[in-house]
């Protein structure tokens, strides 16, 4: 009797090697026959409903925790760009800010709403200021910041590339427009100490800004964009510049100014003596001073908490809807009666 008979072939031909054909086992054969062991997950109602429930139970607590973190942050925001212009210049603020003979001193009184724990971060906030403008972002030379005059290709810095045939150090629009308002804080009679060290990233100070690069010819042009730098201090220690040159991603941004390392009590009144030098009036930008504590999440921002709560409750809502739908009109799992060819023959 020949072995190729019907019954015998269903028993053991799987393992038998047939001459002239590829070997029928081994990983390579499995691969070429596309039979690699695989996991084939199929969505079942139970799995989907419980996934959504689980997501809800994760996201709602996470949302609550983030919201709490956000609420625990005490933040004082004070817009001063208008108030700090004397009445007579209100109609022409640009003239005021450009006029060097007018005193730019200004005092703001900030009331502390709740007690604030040290460290309290001092930020200045600029609105409607496009630090991410393409022209602006490009106008710098990173190698020059590290190597100073040792690096000559400063073409990307134009039109603030050179003065008197020497490259400006640091060159470019970003450095030129360095923020130059200054703040002094006092509580009652005593001055609050502001720590202005260590406000820039350590990595920037160590590796991006040269320790031997001095801003010897900075801000010498006819048009002054912003702050001047002390030519005796190397760039790596010019932390305001370093902070400023981490260009902000969004048109409303804050930059760290310093830290107050004392606790502030509720109802304290902080006096801010500031020099209102920086010109945001020509383009309608706003300037604000911000005092803020921080939480594990960073500053005050309710968005993430609300978004999490929303996603969480939406998930639970969906799981409930699916549960109800599933109970009301379940579709039998893997029932071929629902296949198109069967449906048709039923209907016709």
């Amino acid at each position: 009797m020949d072995l190729d008979g019907g019954s015998s072939s269903t028993i053991s031909t799987g393992a038998r090697a047939i001459p002239g054909r590829p070997v029928r086992h081994g990983a390579l054969y499995q691969f070429t026959q596309q039979n690699l062991p695989a996991c084939k997950p199929v969505l079942t109602p139970a799995a989907v409903i419980s996934t959504f429930l689980l997501m809800g139970f994760i996201f709602i607590p996470v949302g609550l925790v983030t919201l709490r973190a956000s609420y625990s942050v005490v933040e004082i925001v004070d817009r001063y760009d208008i108030e700090c212009v004397p009445e007579e210049y209100r109609s022409n603020k640009v003239a005021y800010v450009k006029d060097d003979s007018v005193s730019k001193n200004c005092s703001r009184f900030l009331k502390v709403p709740k007690s604030m724990r040290a460290p309290i971060f001092i930020y200045y906030q600029l609105d409607n200021y496009y630090q991410n403008h393409r022209r602006y972002v490009k106008s710098r030379t990173d190698r020059q910041l590290l190597h100073g005059l040792g690096y000559n290709d400063t073409s990307s810095c134009r039109p603030l590339e050179s003065s008197d045939d020497l490259p400006i150090v640091p060159c470019g629009l970003i450095a030129w427009s360095l923020f130059n308002d200054t703040y002094k804080f006092s509580r009652g009679p005593s001055e609050l100490k502001v720590n202005r060290k260590d406000i820039a990233w350590k990595s920037d100070r160590n590796h991006k800004f040269g320790k031997h690069v001095y801003p010897f010819n900075f801000q010498n042009g006819t048009l002054t964009g912003g702050a001047k730098l002390d030519p005796t201090i190397p760039l790596s220690d010019q932390e305001d510049l370093i902070v400023w040159m981490r260009t902000a991603a969004l048109p409303t941004f804050r930059k760290l100014y310093g830290r107050i390392e004392e606790d502030l009590e509720a109802d304290d009144v902080i006096v801010v003596n500031l020099k209102n030098n920086y010109n945001t009036y020509s383009f309608g930008g706003k300037k604000k001073i911000v005092l803020s504590t921080s939480s594990w999440l960073g500053g005050k921002n309710d968005f993430l908490g609300i978004a999490n709560l929303f996603v969480g409750s939406f998930s639970i809502l969906i799981s409930i809807i699916f549960l109800v739908l599933h109970l009301k009109s379940p579709r039998p799992y893997g029932d071929t009666a629902y296949a198109s060819w069967n449906k048709k023959s039923i209907s016709s």
């Binding site: 997501m55 630090q131 393409r134 030129w176 042009g221 260009t247 991603a249 383009f283 699916f322 629902y338």
Partner: protein
């Protein structure tokens, strides 16, 4: 032509066709006719059209859509930029972040500012560069790679491997893999494709008695007749199944009356043909094989059969034949041979016996034979033979009727004179010969009938049944005559007895038109109202309720294709589940294919093995060549080549289905992947005073479609399987998904684009709001966007992967890890602006919360929609997957075993 002073006439029988081998002679003297442009190959050559897959054609229209979308984005950006410049035009000089004024050269001039119009143009051009990823150029490369991978698996598949000829599947065209999943029409050649082109003698009905070898004998009972001549053994080359009883009868001698009939019958089989016997040496010097060579495989089969029953044709020269009848050599003079022609449908030979008597043996198709048979004699024999023929042809056998007539001397002389005159006449020779033949071929006494099986290739009936179940319309285009085609139709289960058949066969235009219109009316009546509307889904339905078959022959086709009847023919053919076209010329085959191609958007596949199928193979959307006996032309012209017709089923149902599903998904995914990235760039531009700053640094932008996201889509495109092979083979209906274009269509495209829009909004705006008014710098938020979009698109893919192998896992999660590594590497280069940004950002909880929130919120709608669709509007594939899963859960352990067994049994 004159040779040695003798005038010889040359006719069609003298033609040596291209590719012929010379045998039985050393040389031929010839005149070359029909050469150059007139050769058959050239005349039938329709030129190789370049093929392009339908998916790709559709995809191109979507890409045009995306181009418009791209232009729109660029327009929005540039117009907004112009408006912004106009609003701020007074401040531009000193705007700290613009600083138009350039005083470095001592005088005041504008630095890189040329008025808002030009700036708008610049912005537009720049935005084209920034957003150009929208047009997925990389998709074309990935598609090519995926197709190569798919082709690799098709070639390696053991199901498509022909053991008999040791031939693998060949993938000759690399750009139409996915078309295999959408075939709606299959055009098949008959000879060599459906059949093996090997005839086998099956039954004989002699003098009203049925001797069916198939019923009584089994495979191993093949009797080999051999003959000893001068110490040598002569054997016919082919073994034939024999009927034991008949064999016994032939051996017992021919003394009685029945024996005489049997003697005449087999003598007719051995003599009435144009076969040339050829003696071949074998390795054993005492054994020689006789190989019968002739132009008709039917005649070969008959001669072999006669040899098996002891009537061995040994020698044929132009004047006589030698037949060995049970060891006794007999010599007959062949006085005249009336060749087969399609009008008479019979051939005859006149033998002169040694005792100077003459006999005419005729064999031919039943219809033509019964008209020349003397009906007055042996009516019961004629009737019995007729019923036998009926029963033979109903099982798909080719039947021939054998007859004989004794010629007396005067009849012979009369015939001989006419024959000589006719065969040497220069004008109208064929007609004259035919006339002579018809004159003598009458008053024939019936001897019996033969039945020959045109052997179908292995698995053909099953394959055709599967194809029809899948809603594929099978058209058989053959050069054979109608009767043969119909008999093959029955044996291959193409035609069933329950079908309404429309036969169109007419010799003039008018009757052709009339028959066509009648058939059309009938078919309309047959198709009740519901079918017409939902034609696309209803094809399987129509097969079930009123199967119809159209049988049409070549001459009618000529009239129809010449006329304006094309439309009617197509409408009729569309309603029929089976169409048989007989007697069609090669170029007509292509004409029929193009007829269907022109009128529908459905995909066509042509399968054939011979040079005469080349034009059809080239014309069809997909051409499949069978690497059979008939040379290599079909394979050379084809897109795919394989060893057997039955491989068509796994090719279409498994590989075609997979390829289509994979590529369809891949195209949509690539659109999505690139569009979501571009949209994120676009949203950011809205917050940079429309100046095309990109937060995502340029290295990441470049690597996005190379390293971050490219590998998983290719791997999934090659490896993902929506259903197992077995499910696909067991449920041919699943093939309908491709025919209905379920994996790639306009609706899916727009759904995907809507999803893309939502996902891009989530990816962009969650960080935007979370970091609004904070100290975040461009590089940090850019890294967040980079990572979230990369993880998002990979998770999106992961959500749609059906079958997770370790390769899939490795590619998807590997890509995510590679992205983290790349982003980190980019951020440790001090001269880049984003130096150390990832470390700073990743150190905050906000970063990770954002990332998590983005991923969940972005995928949520897709997940919900996917589940709702799968659960409440399941498609066939989804249901089959659930069935598969259910079955797998039932037999967790037995699974691999059964799967392997299944593969080892490819005939299924």
């Amino acid at each position: 032509m004159e040779v040695d002073g003798k005038r010889l006439s040359l006719g069609s029988s003298n033609i040596v066709l291209r590719g012929c081998e010379l045998k039985n002679t050393n040389c031929v003297v010839g005149v070359a006719v029909y050469c150059g442009r007139e050769t058959k190959a050239m005349l039938n050559n329709s030129g190789a059209p370049s093929k392009r897959s339908r998916l790709e054609t559709q995809m191109n229209s979507e890409i045009i859509m995306l181009s418009f979308f791209l232009v729109a984005l660029c327009m929005v950006t540039s117009v907004c930029a112009a408006v912004w410049l106009n609003q701020n035009k007074n401040d531009l000089n000193l705007l700290p972040y613009y600083r138009k004024l350039d005083v470095s050269k001592g005088k005041e001039e504008s630095y890189q500012y040329y008025g808002w119009g030009i700036e708008m143009l610049f912005t537009f051009l720049m935005s084209v560069i920034v957003y150009q990823v929208m047009i997925p150029i990389s998709l074309y490369i990935s598609m090519e790679l995926v197709r190569v991978g798919q082709a690799y698996f098709m070639i390696k598949d053991s199901r498509l491997y022909d053991e008999a000829t040791n031939s693998r599947f060949q993938c000759r065209a690399l750009n139409i893999n996915e078309d295999l999943g959408q075939i709606k029409y299959v055009f098949s050649d008959k000879t060599g494709t459906l059949t093996e082109n090997k005839m086998e003698f099956q039954c004989a009905s002699i003098w009203g008695v049925d001797y069916s070898s198939a019923k009584t004998s089994l495979e191993n009972e093949q009797v080999e007749y051999s003959l000893q001549v001068e110490g040598k053994v002569l054997k016919p080359k082919m073994k034939v199944k024999v009927n034991q009883e008949l064999l016994r009868l032939t051996k017992s001698g021919f003394a009685n009356k029945d024996g005489k009939r049997i003697y005449d019958f087999f003598l007719a089989l051995a003599a009435c043909n144009t076969i040339v016997p050829l003696v071949i040496d074998t390795s054993d010097p005492t054994v020689k094989l006789i190989d019968y060579q002739g132009e008709s495989p039917d005649e070969q089969a008959l001669t072999y059969a006669a040899a098996a029953y002891g009537f061995m044709l040994i020698e044929r020269t132009s004047g006589h034949i030698v037949i060995d009848i049970h060891g006794e050599r007999q010599r007959f003079n062949v006085l005249g041979l009336h060749e087969f022609d399609s009008d008479r449908k019979r051939m005859s030979v006149i033998l002169g016996y040694s005792d100077n008597s003459f006999k005419l043996f005729v064999k031919g198709a039943d219809t033509s034979m019964f008209s020349v048979i003397n009906k007055s004699l042996n009516t019961d024999i004629i009737q019995a033979t007729e019923t036998h023929i009926q029963s033979y042809s109903s099982v798909g056998l080719r039947t021939l009727v054998i007859g004989m007539r004794d010629l007396n001397a005067s009849e012979f002389d009369q015939w001989h004179f006419a024959f000589e005159a006719a065969s040497t006449s220069m004008i109208g020779r064929a007609a004259l010969l035919r006339k002579v033949a018809t004159n003598v071929e009458n008053n024939v006494c019936i001897l019996g009938a033969t039945a020959i099986e045109d052997k179908l290739q292995q698995g053909v009936p099953e394959s055709i049944e599967s194809l029809r179940k899948a809603g594929i319309k099978v058209w058989v285009l053959t050069g054979d005559k109608q009767e043969t085609a119909i008999s093959i139709g029955y044996s291959s289960r193409l035609l069933t007895s329950g079908m309404t058949q429309f036969r169109i066969k007419s010799n003039n235009r008018e009757s052709c038109r009339r028959r066509l219109q009648d058939a059309l009316l009938m078919s309309r009546k047959n198709m009740a109202a519901p079918e017409v509307g939902n034609y696309f889904e209803g094809s399987s339905d129509s097969v079930v309720s009123t199967p119809m078959a159209l049988i049409i022959d070549g001459t009618s086709l000529v009239y129809i294709l010449d006329n304006e009847l094309e439309e009617e023919l197509f409408e009729l053919a569309r309603r029929c589940s089976v169409v048989l076209c007989c007697r069609v010329a090669p170029l007509q085959k292509a004409g029929i294919v193009s007829l269907v191609k022109k009128r529908t958007a459905d995909m066509t596949l042509a399968i054939g093995d011979g040079a005469n199928d080349v034009s059809m193979i080239q014309m069809a959307d997909v051409g499949v060549g069978i690497s059979g006996q008939e040379g290599r032309q079909a394979v050379m012209a084809s897109d795919f080549a394989m060893g057997q017709f039955r491989f068509l089923v796994p090719l279409l149902f498994i590989h075609g289905h997979w390829n289509y599903q994979r590529l369809g998904y891949m195209v949509l995914y690539n659109f999505y992947r690139n569009a979501v990235f571009v949209l994120i760039l676009f949203w950011y531009v809205l917050f940079t005073a429309f100046t095309l700053t990109t937060a995502i640094n340029e290295w990441s932008s470049m690597l996005y479609s190379i390293i971050y996201t490219a590998v998983p889509t290719i791997v999934v495109g090659i490896l993902d399987k929506d259903l197992s092979k077995r499910t696909l083979l067991d449920n041919p209906q699943l093939y309908g998904a491709g025919q209905r274009q379920e994996a790639y269509n306009k609706k899916l495209f727009w759904l995907t684009m809507a999803d893309t829009l939502w996902q891009s909004i989530v990816v962009f705006f969650v960080p935007l709001f979370a970091y609004w008014g904070s100290t975040v710098d461009i590089a940090s938020i850019g890294d967040l966007w980079t990572l979230s979009v990369v993880i998002l698109v990979n998770l999106h893919l992961a959500m749609d992967v059906i079958r997770w192998t370790w390769i899939t896992h490795a590619s998807i999660w590997g890509s995510v890890i590679a992205t983290f590594i790349c982003v980190t590497i980019i951020d440790v280069i001090p001269s880049l602006r984003g130096y150390w940004a990832i470390f700073d950002a990743a150190g905050t909880a906000l970063f990770w919360l954002c990332l998590l929130g983005i991923l969940i919120a972005a995928l949520l709608p897709r997940f919900v929609v996917k589940f709702v669709y799968q659960y409440y509007f399941p498609d066939d594939i989804q249901i089959s997957r659930e069935v598969e899963k259910k079955a797998r859960n039932l037999r967790v352990n037995g699974d691999t075993h059964i799967e392997m067994l299944h593969i080892s049994n490819p005939q299924r």
